[in-house]
């Protein structure tokens, strides 16, 4: 029995463990070590971090602001979409929305970024449409290929993902809890804010955190939609490696990105523990 209960499970999980160890833990450990190894001297220290802050301090701030803002917008939009699907409006519109909102899920970041380049440009499709529709004057058209474009692309792409999670969670609520609130006199917006969102807040948080981590790791969008300065840390990492072969600073930036993601995860877990429920 000991073999079956102790050894066998270990043997069965071994391939998975090895894959995780080799493909994830080893590169991670190597990356962490490299972050603390000074590129020039080969000694351990904080030189790479000092250089990271000196060179990319603004980019760090930029990255935090963009990811933070994008994450908040993604949260808000996914709640709005989920709420619309659950609380309904015109059945046709709901069906159209249900069909449409998932599209960005199937479009890779790099393709999305490429599309945004022609969509958001000064003389791009969006401005052309707005001019044709008479919303803006041709002269007041401006390019959105900067931080706004990055934000727009991230929100556009990642909202689909978060909305899929959130609307799924909303759909699995007991519909009677929604009806009970409306029955007592709550309008749709109040039902969304006071009844639905509190019940799916964990899923909303998961959607937002996963989006944040994804955004932190995407290179193509800031590279293709952004204009270089300030830019996001992924671009700086790629630049350190490609232009200088400097893995030290790149890994230091990676380490800082990791810290950022870990901080968010920590807040999330701590909240889960303090409310005593499942996080």
């Amino acid at each position: 029995m000991t073999f079956r209960t102790r050894v066998l499970p270990l043997v069965l999980t071994l391939p998975a463990l090895v894959v995780v160890a080799v493909l994830f833990l080893v590169p991670l450990g190597y990356s962490l070590l490299s972050a603390f190894e000074e590129t020039e001297t080969g000694e351990f220290g904080f030189g790479n971090f000092a250089k990271s802050f000196e060179f990319y301090g603004w980019d760090m701030l930029f990255t935090v602001i963009i990811t933070g803002l994008a994450t908040l917008l993604i949260g808000a939009l996914s709640i709005a979409i989920g709420g619309y699907l659950v609380l309904g409006g015109h059945p046709r519109l709901v069906a159209a929305m249900r069909w449409l909102y998932r599209w960005p899920l199937f479009i890779p970041f790099i393709v999305a970024a490429q599309c945004m380049r022609t969509f958001l440009a000064k003389n791009g499709i969006m401005n052309n449409l707005l001019v044709t529709a008479g919303v803006i004057e041709p002269l007041s058209a401006q390019s959105f290929l900067d931080w706004r474009g990055i934000l727009f692309t991230f929100v556009w792409k990642q909202t689909a993902f978060a909305a899929l999670l959130v609307s799924g969670a909303m759909a699995s609520l007991d519909p009677a809890t929604i009806e009970a609130a409306r029955n007592l006199g709550a309008g749709k917006l109040r039902v969304l804010v006071e009844i639905i969102v509190p019940q799916v807040r964990v899923t909303v948080a998961v959607g937002m955190i996963l989006s944040l981590v994804t955004i932190l790791s995407v290179l193509s969008v800031p590279l293709m939609v952004g204009t270089g300065s300030p830019t996001m840390l992924t671009v700086d990492m790629a630049f350190r490696i490609n232009s200088y072969g400097d893995y030290g600073v790149a890994n230091a930036l990676g380490f800082l990105t990791y810290l950022l993601a870990a901080t968010v995860a920590w807040f999330y877990l701590r909240r889960g523990v303090s409310t005593g429920g499942t996080p």
Binding site: K122, T227, G245, N251, G254
Partner: protein
Amino acid sequence: MRLTRLMSLVGAALAANVLTAPAGAATLNVVTAGDQNMADYVRDYLGPKFQKDNPGVTINVFGTGPGDAGSQKIFEKLEAQQKASTATYDIDVAVVHQKMGGQMVEAGMLEPYRGKIATGKLVSRDTAVNALGVNVDGYVMPMFHSQTALAYNSDLVKSPPKSYNELKSWVQAHPKQFGYNGIKNGMSGVSFVVGWIYAYGGNADKLMKGPYDKAVEASWDKAFADLKEFNKNVTFTPGNAGTMDMLNRGEIAIGPVWVDMFYTWMADGKLPPSVKLLLPEPGMPGQPMFYVIPNKAASKDLAMKFVELATSPAVQAEGIVKRFNWYPGIDAEHLKGSLDQAVWNKLFDDVSPQDLAKKGQPFPIVPYFSAITEGYEKKVSN
């Protein structure tokens, strides 16, 4: 970052598997850095041509991606095999950027083969000898020369600025009409910045030829400060292609571009004919791509034959100049016989060979090059 690293490791592992599979003598593994069109050039044009002369040879072609990143991958792959003391390397011919050519020579990875092939004598330009400060004489054959220049929309700009100085005042008068892509989104922007330092940093010759002296870097502060000021009236574009996109849509009127890319886009109708090229005073950098052969290449002789074909006047004329609008790697005079006048004229339409000779500069030696980009990051964009 660790993802990038991981992906390159996985990619290298995959490539290694595929490469080592057909281990027969008649296999040639060609790895190219650069955009997809580089790999396509070897696969679709050069490869079949070579196979016609050498029946039975299998040619495997791999592209490692654009920019220095692509060359970096090839270097790391060879470095790994070098460290592991492998008997033979699984790369026979590599196409790498100028900077990496020098780095590979210094690392002792390459075979000095230029003297052993017939076309070796057709190259006299300095860039085949000196790669950003490293003596690469004998180790490399230039595949082609690429050059950056300013593209401008002649409908919008009647009298284009002919120098960095004129550009400075033009930008002042036409804010946001000049656009470039910084230094992180592609080399055309880097080129523009290097040209700026050549123009205003002083000692341009020393930057190109060395030797390296850290003290020189301090003399760039004013140039960087001016560039920061200059940038305030500049539109930043998303990448090399981004600059051309914006030129095409009329969102900017002037911007630095790669000449070959410019002609290709022009030929595809992606740029209006009103967009023209000029090389500003005192000049802008360009660079060759090198054919190199690792000193432990498995099929060294075949590799040399391959490079010989690739650098023959006929191939240089037909493939490099006519098809891709690149400047030839071997000296242009050897091509005259193989190229009709119209094609020749087209290539040198806006930028004359004299201009090119005078204002087409090499990139600086590696330590200065890194110092310029780092200086930009630190003092201009930060």
